[in-house]
């Protein structure tokens, strides 16, 4: 199994395996199986509005996943991506609330601010790792909590709504700070364009640049890379900065295109969901878009499960989770088989 047939073979098998698993669950609770799956499709693609919503959800997920491709490829387990999304959202909110500028400049400034904010948060994880020897998983997770704490503080403190001490969020931003949408839809073409541009950029970095090649080399073998003269710590820092900056853009789309204000759960869990997407994609940027879109279909479609079948929408999460586990299982089984074949060859 080589080339393009490999991934297709995997994913179809994995989808099948996880569908079987979810079907067994549904059967156990005597829920119509076929209707459940049909609802997933119609609920997410059935009308222009629904398709728009699915696309809207896919934007932050695609961006977060693209960010994770950068660090994962460099061999860095950037669990701190949630915090970086939040940092981007906070930076963009700061511009939207506190800085007065001409309406035409506001959105570009918010985007740049989010980019820088996320990059700064990523840099912190990188510095902790390179200078302090703190594993990026722990450093990232710690900074996730710090970022969450910061948002909650802002929302109930300095940026709280007048007279209300509530964690439901800040006042909505002024209109100029909203991403423009298509008439009648919640979807913003600007947000979609940003997500596509980000994926294109990641593709370009890893296919065309020395920087991307060196990140991959470090991810595959830091010792050899160092011997070849690549300054590993410098590139690790740069990977965290770039990864964080991209994640910050996901935060920008969350505040400017979806919520139009800062709320405590502003990251929407897209960072963690993005980890699943990237694992499924096998770190390939080209596969991020279809997989993130499929995940968004499940997220939006499963709302209908709740409305029509009385199922809790978290069943969608179960589906996503089993999908990832199936893919990992199948590729692990393939590796085992390859290794066994090698052994047989060596034995001859």
């Amino acid at each position: 199994m080589k080339g393009i047939t490999g991934p297709i073979y995997y994913y179809s098998t994995a989808v099948l395996v996880s569908m079987v698993f979810v079907s067994i669950l549904l059967a156990l609770f005597k829920i119509p199986i076929f209707e459940t799956y049909t609802l997933l499709i119609t609920g997410s693609l059935g009308s222009m509005t629904k398709l728009g919503d699915t696309l809207m959800v896919s934007v932050p997920l695609i961006i977060a996943s693209a960010s994770l491709v950068i660090t994962f490829r460099a061999g860095l387990w950037n669990i701190g991506v949630e915090g970086q999304i939040i940092a981007g959202a906070v930076a963009a909110s700061f511009i939207a609330r506190e800085i007065h500028m001409s309406p035409g400049l506001l959105l570009p400034t918010m985007i740049v601010a989010g980019f820088l904010g996320g990059g700064f948060w990523g840099l912190l994880v990188g510095l902790l790792k390179v200078k302090g020897g703190v594993n990026e998983i722990f450093g990232g997770l710690g900074l996730d909590f710090v970022a969450t704490g910061l948002v909650v503080y802002l929302v109930i403190g300095p940026w709280s709504r007048k007279g209300i001490a509530s964690t439901s969020g800040t006042e909505p931003f002024q209109d100029n700070a909203w991403f423009p949408t298509i008439e009648g839809f919640r979807l913003s073409p600007l947000a979609v364009s940003i997500s596509l541009l980000v994926v294109l950029m990641v593709l370009f970095v890893f296919n065309r640049t020395q920087f991307g090649l060196r990140l991959r080399a470090i991810g595959l073998n830091p010792n050899s890379s160092y011997r070849f003269g690549i300054s590993t710590s410098r590139y690790i820092l740069m990977a965290f900065i770039l990864g964080g900056a991209v994640a910050g853009l996901a935060g920008v789309t969350q505040v400017a295109s979806i919520h139009h204000r800062l709320i405590p759960s502003i990251s929407g869990g897209y960072g963690f969901l993005g980890i699943l997407v990237v694992l499924l994609a096998g770190y390939r940027p080209s596969l991020v878009i279809p997989i993130a879109f499929f995940f968004s279909m499940i997220a939006i479609g499963s709302i209908q499960w709740q409305l029509r079948l009385g199922l809790h929408s978290s069943l969608g999460g179960v589906f996503q989770g089993t999908l990832v586990l199936s893919v990992i299982l199948i590729s692990a089984m393939r590796l085992l088989r390859q290794r066994r074949e090698l052994h047989v060859k060596a034995g001859e």
Partner: protein, 487 residues
């Protein structure tokens, strides 16, 4: 009490690591096991201690056949092994280290175990406080802990695998006193070493292995020259092929000291002149790898100075070394040299034209194709290192090197390669030396050292104890020095 090894054979792939080996070890005997790297010593003791299973042959203790399929089987039968680096739970206290290996037959009772530890310590003069955390112990003390633990678990046969590599002189004397006391109490001891003087001073008998075959078992003391001949025998006097006309001293090491993991080099003084080829002889871990890495700036020395063309370069960055034509090639070609998962084209894109920000894949592919041809590498531009044979990996590593190097340090240039590749590699290296590159290489093949070096430096325990001209030296002289003995 006696341990009997009968016709033990073990192969790894096509390599016979142990070929029909039989040894008798009596009660209270200290039996030395001597041989070069790769002679089969470790394989043999791993079989006796249950870590490896042999393809043929049996192990008997007191005339009873033992089924050793795991280390647990071995220790239950009464065979304990002290590894080169003691297998101690570092974060645990000494008493917890004992409890972690508690035999099934015993109760989990701290007080009893504490008493046992005191008893053993008293008997053997160990100084072990049960509550000390193991990570604060020196290697010598960890060895004591491990020996005490093995005794406590009922070991009647003790295997010591190169126990003196990482410990101080005093600790070595203590260890030897302990070993002698154990033997006096009836313990059978197998002492694995490649240090000839140690074998002479402590063993009752010694078995010499070479390339998996038992060469002879001698009663100690015996003439050291006999041991050297048994260890390194079979070498014909090679004729040096390389005759470099020596130029100026280009690279000077003045009292270099460096440390990395468990190896250290001390007070290395050497001078290298343009185009010179220097072979480093010595057993694994004697300091060659560290010296090669220090010379190329990958490891920093903590004392001493390095001069290159008269300039002091001790503290310069690895980047400076690379830019000035220093290059290091490791023995682990696929793990430390090449990058598994990247194609050959990607390797050339990575090392080729490094100043450009974007990659011209056509150019890199073309470069890769040219180099594949020039270095006759069997593979395509899309092959990855893991698809290549050892010989082709080594060719690829050479192909990736910049053209004009000033210093190339290389571990085991031809280890594991077929003859054709080995010859090809040396042809390439000699050509580089003709162009002025200083080549410093380590090897465990004495023929290779004599054939290709101008000079041979012999490393022993981190020091250079021999600086020989390859025209005048003999395999016997090199072999003795490798074993730490002046011929």
């Amino acid at each position: 009490m006696s341990l009997k090894l009968l016709n033990i054979s073990k192969n790894f792939g096509t390599v016979l690591a142990n070929n029909d080996i039989s040894i008798d070890i009596g009660q209270g005997e200290i039996h030395g096991l001597l041989g070069e790297n790769g002679a089969g010593k470790s394989t043999l003791v791993n079989i006796i201690s249950g870590s490896l299973t042999s393809e043929a042959g049996t192990v008997e203790l007191d005339g009873k056949y033992l089924d050793l399929s795991s280390p647990t089987d071995a220790i239950e039968a009464g065979i304990g092994i002290l590894h080169q680096e003691p297998l101690v739970f570092l974060p645990f206290s000494i008493i917890d280290n004992f409890l972690a290996g508690l035999p099934k037959s015993r109760d989990f009772d701290r007080k009893l175990v504490r008493d046992d530890i005191h008893k053993i310590c008293q008997e053997y003069g160990f100084d072990l406080d049960p509550d000390t955390v193991a990570s604060s112990l020196t290697i010598g003390e960890r060895q004591q802990l491990e020996i005490a633990r093995l005794l406590w678990m009922g070991a009647r046969v003790l295997i010591l695998d190169e126990p003196t590599t990482a410990i101080s002189e005093t600790q070595r004397e203590n260890l030897f006193t302990t070993i002698e006391r154990l033997a006096a109490n009836g313990m059978s001891v197998i002492f694995v070493s490649h240090k000839l003087d140690e074998i002479q001073s402590i063993c009752d008998r010694v078995t010499v292995l070479r390339k998996g075959v038992l060469i002879d078992t001698l009663t100690v003391p015996c003439p050291t020259s006999d041991l050297v001949n048994l260890m390194f025998g079979g070498y014909t006097q090679a004729i040096p092929q390389n005759q470099t006309v020596l130029g100026q001293d280009l690279l000077i090491l003045d009292g270099i000291c460096a440390r990395e993991e468990t190896t250290a080099i001390e007070e290395v003084h050497c001078k290298f002149s343009e185009g010179e080829i220097i072979g480093l002889a010595g057993l694994e871990g004697a300091g060659q790898r560290l010296l090669l890495r220090t010379i190329t700036g990958l490891t920093k020395s903590y004392r001493g100075s390095t001069y290159f063309k008269g300039e002091k370069i001790t503290k310069h960055s690895y980047k400076w070394y690379m830019e000035n034509g220093f290059h290091y090639l490791p023995a682990d070609r696929s793990g430390e040299g090449l990058i598994q998962g990247l194609t050959i084209t990607e390797h050339f894109a990575l090392t080729g034209n490094q100043s450009r920000k974007t990659i011209d894949w056509n150019k890199s592919r073309q470069l890769a194709e040219d180099k594949l041809q020039e270095y006759s590498i069997r593979g395509t531009v899309n092959s990855k290192p893991e698809d290549l044979s050892g010989g082709n990996q080594q060719r690829l590593l050479l192909a990736l090197m910049p053209n004009n190097l000033s210093v190339l340090s290389m571990e085991h240039p031809t280890r594991g390669l077929d003859i054709e590749s080995a010859e090809w590699i040396w042809k390439e290296l000699l050509a580089r030396s003709k162009n002025g590159t200083i080549i410093i290489f380590s090897s465990s093949d004495i023929d290779e050292l004599i054939n290709f070096s101008d000079r041979i430096l012999v490393c022993f325990s981190g020091e250079i104890i021999g600086n020989l001209s390859s025209k005048e030296t003999t395999p016997y002289e090199i072999g003795s020095l490798i074993g730490g003995v002046q011929p």
